[in-house]
């Protein structure tokens, strides 16, 4: 099966090269058969990558310990669940998995548009094939996952060997999110290849109009959704497994996943400027280019260990290839832009500082500044070494100082932007749309201040969260009330009806609401508390309203590890409430340990208990307790964001009945908020 897999990969490489070279020939000659054959070569590339990936997975499931990669990341006792995940547990498999996910996207694109957009698709196909060639080069010639184990034999030749059992999966990775976090994040990273290919293809082809934006909107949103999920799942994983009480440490690999999310978010917003007003064309094209480059950079940072992150392996072998690939991409993008920049001329100019356009402009500016700050902070050790010879790193204070105000300003725009009119907003409509939300927000701020929300940023965050939440709720209720008055349906049914008529707008509001929840959770971090103590059985720690009593220890042998856990009784007001079991796991196959945090989570706060190890002083076990307010809102917000994105991906329902109703009511003034809901937009693809 390992031979089968490597052959499939080699063939995939050959097909991709044909799809690339043949595609260029097809663009020049415009021969229909050539166009068709290169498209089919592209599809074949994808199918072969699928086969290779499945064969590696088969090697894991058949416990084939003659293959190095399987030996390194699996053993017989590993559960089925983690055998799937072992595929992306190491370097070679991760890169194959990248190719695999990219192949899913490429396959879908090539099949979906096989008989459409004949002028554009050959260009798109060439760009996609180019990206695939790069990753297939890594898969085939640099980091092949199918290498067989061998030892030098008596006559100098290598003899194949097989091991009885493998080394097992690293304990840190044996956690349910290990199975879902990397696929999500990688789906985000790979997914941005599609808008990139369309943008570059459209620029090269001088494809008329904003068609490429309509075509790629769904793909961009899918990639964005996966990226969002991947980031949040990673944060949750860090929170639940690493045991330092936080979910985000501005680690290079975390930052790497945030960067394309920032530019991707900017892109999702600024395309609306191009669709509505024909502005920001150059900007949009470059945002997509940058997002794609940051995806590659993210993969590179994770995989090459160029920035000293504890958990990226140093591997300069692929580092040079990644840098080379990025350089080629930059050259192609700059070349295409310089050659065809006249095609990206803007049709309109900014009219007013209080307008939808300017809110998008500032939204983009802030996201970009955040991106630049995070990027420069992440790469600071590399650049400072180049320029000064000293390797200097910056830590959390740097990132927090810049990004907290940016986050709050963005939150403000989230509330204000969608309600501003295009071109220019009158003072009257400002009052009408923001009077109530602003009042409610300030009122909430007063209550918060009275209740002890004294930290400046947290108080601002609270006010903004309420303000934005109120604008979103008002938008829904305003629209739903109008529909209700016409159809007589219940309020909830009217709200759903409203959403389904303009999924993009109202799905977007739901996403905004989800971000409000995330921000509520982030604001809680200002009030985190923790205590650490060397514990003997019978000792207690007081944390907020909770008293934690260590009853004793328990050792439990499991399938491939031994668990030692603390038996902690939690009391509230001296009444027993529950038991928590923070745990240390000692794995049989490695010398490493794993930490399992015990968390009691409510919407108000998380009680987070860690069996932190042995005290260097007293040799006693150490218990570390955190009280983290509002953390659950972050995960809940993430779910809402994903739900909102899914709603926005749905096609609009045609509102035939209500449209006719609206036509009858010509002359009757409609409330401002409803207008976009009944006026159907041109159908986006």
């Amino acid at each position: 099966m390992d031979v089968f897999g490597s052959f499939a990969l080699i063939l995939a490489f050959v097909c991709a090269v044909y799809a690339f070279g043949g595609g260029i020939a097809a663009i020049i000659t415009r021969h229909p058969l050539l166009v068709k054959s290169t498209r089919q070569a592209g599809i074949a590339t994808c199918c072969l990558i699928f086969l290779a990936t499945f064969s590696l997975e088969y090697l894991f499931f058949s416990d084939n310990f003659s293959v190095g990669y399987v030996v390194a990341h699996s053993n017989r006792d590993l559960s089925t669940f983690y055998k799937i995940a072992a595929l992306w547990a190491g370097q070679e498999g991760s890169l194959l998995f990248w190719s695999f996910l990219l192949a899913i996207y490429v396959f879908s694109v090539l099949v979906t548009y096989r008989n459409k957009n004949g002028e554009l698709m050959p260009y798109v196909g060439v760009v996609l094939a180019g990206v695939q060639i790069f990753f297939l080069t890594l898969n085939n010639f640099v980091e092949s996952p199918f290498k067989a184990l061998a030892v030098p034999g008596a006559n100098g030749a290598m003899d194949l060997v097989a091991r009885a059992d493998g080394n097992g999966l690293t304990p840190l990775l044996q956690y349910p999110e290990m199975v879902i976090h990397p696929p999500n994040l990688y789906s985000g990273y790979t997914g941005f290849t599609i808008p990139f290919a369309f943008a570059l293809g459209a620029l090269l082809a001088r494809y008329p109009g904003e068609k490429w934006i309509h075509l790629t909107r769904k793909w961009t949103m899918i990639a964005w959704m996966f990226q969002s999920m991947g980031i949040l799942l990673g944060a949750h994983w860090a929170y639940a497994v690493l045991g330092w009480g936080g979910y985000w440490g501005w680690d290079p690999v975390e930052n790497a996943s945030l960067l394309p999310w920032l530019t991707g978010t900017a892109f999702l917003h600024s395309v609306m400027m191009q669709e509505k007003r024909g502005m920001m064309k150059v900007w949009n094209v470059w945002l997509v280019f940058c997002t794609f480059l940051l995806c590659i950079l993210g993969t590179f940072l994770t995989r090459s260990g160029v920035v000293s992150s504890v958990h990226a392996v140093a591997n300069s072998k692929i580092g040079n290839l990644f840098v080379g690939f990025m350089a080629i991409v930059v050259l192609v993008c700059v070349g295409a832009y310089l050659k065809n920049r006249d095609y990206l001329k803007s049709e309109n100019q900014l009219d007013s500082i209080v307008s939808r356009e300017s809110s998008f402009l500032f939204n983009n500016l802030l996201l970009l500044v955040a991106c630049v700050a995070v990027l420069s902070g992440t790469l600071f050790p590399v650049f400072s070494e180049w320029f000064t010879g000293d390797r200097i790193s910056v830590g959390a204070p740097f990132f927090n100082k810049v990004n907290i105000p940016i986050g709050l300003l963005l939150l403000f725009l989230t509330g204000v932007g969608p309600l501003l009119a295009w071109r220019k907003t009158s003072t009257e409509s400002l009052k009408r749309n923001f009077g109530w939300p602003l009042g409610i927000g300030l009122f909430a701020g007063l209550i918060g201040f009275a209740l002890g929300f004294r930290q400046f940023y947290s108080l601002v965050c609270l006010i903004l969260c309420v303000l934005v939440g109120a604008t979103v709720v008002l938008e829904f209720s305003r629209g739903a009330r109008v529909i209700r008055s016409r159809s007589g349906a219940s309020f909830a049914a009217s709200a759903i009806d409203l959403t389904m008529r303009n999924t993009r707008r109202y799905g977007g509001y739901i996403v905004h609401m989800g971000m409000v929840f995330v921000f509520i959770g982030l604001a809680g971090a200002a009030f985190n508390r923790d205590a650490q103590k060397d514990m003997r059985p019978g000792d207690t720690i007081q944390m907020g309203p909770y008293t934690l009593l260590l009853q004793g220890f328990e050792t439990r042998p499991e399938k491939n590890y031994t668990a030692q856990r603390m038996l902690v009784e939690v009391l509230r007001d001296n009444k027993p409430m529950m038991m928590l079991y923070p745990e240390k796991r000692r794995f049989a196959t490695t010398v490493e340990n794993g930490t399992m945090v015990a968390i009691y989570s409510t919407l108000k706060e998380d009680l987070y208990v860690v069996y932190a190890g042995q005290s260097p002083e007293t040799q006693l076990p150490v218990m570390h307790v955190f009280l983290n307010p509002l953390v659950k809102w972050i995960w809940f917000g993430g779910v809402v964001v994903v739900f909102g994105t899914l709603v926005a991906l749905l096609p609009n329902r045609r509102a035939v009945l209500v449209l006719s109703g609206a036509q009858q009511a010509v002359g009757q003034a409609l409330p401002q908020g409803l207008m976009p809901a009944v006026t159907m937009r041109e159908g986006h693809d």
Partner: protein, 142 residues
């Protein structure tokens, strides 16, 4: 033209303010990386800076005392005695021959006093794919 000036002012105010904050944060959190060999060549004020040093934990060198843990970090053929005085328990991955990153300041007696220790196991550790897992309960984010 006037409108563009307004936008220009708005944009520059934002960028300058954030740049200032970035500069503050940089001053507050910058940490130098040095190798064990470089440490000997440092002079004057450079020697009292807060810094990070990476290396491999020498086999059998970990000694636990009350209030501190001593070990030896090796790299590039040099050895550096470390005294860890932090309050956090050492990470699970901190064992003989693991790769460790220590953060702290050199003391006058030639030892290096570390307040934080991060470690990864050299024999086995592979990158967490795209993950946010950091191999140690590190000082980051606190």
């Amino acid at each position: 033209m006037k409108k563009q000036a307004k936008f220009g002012i708005g944009i520059s105010v934002i960028v300058v303010a954030l740049g200032f904050l970035a500069w503050l944060g940089y001053g507050e959190s910058k940490t130098y990386y040095h190798t064990i060999a470089e440490l000997e060549t440092l002079k004057g004020s450079a020697k009292s800076q807060r810094m990070r040093i990476g290396g491999t934990v020498a086999a059998g060198s970990i000694r636990r005392f009350s209030g501190r843990v001593d070990f030896v970090l090796e790299g590039e053929g040099k050895a550096l005695p470390i005294t860890y005085i932090g309050s956090d328990p050492l990470p699970d991955t901190f064992v003989d021959k693991s790769q460790a990153l220590v953060e702290g300041r050199p003391a006058d007696d030639g030892r290096f006093v570390a307040e934080h220790v991060q470690a990864k196991c050299a024999s086995k550790y592979e990158a967490a794919p795209g993950g946010t897992a950091s191999a140690a309960p590190s000082s980051a984010g606190r």
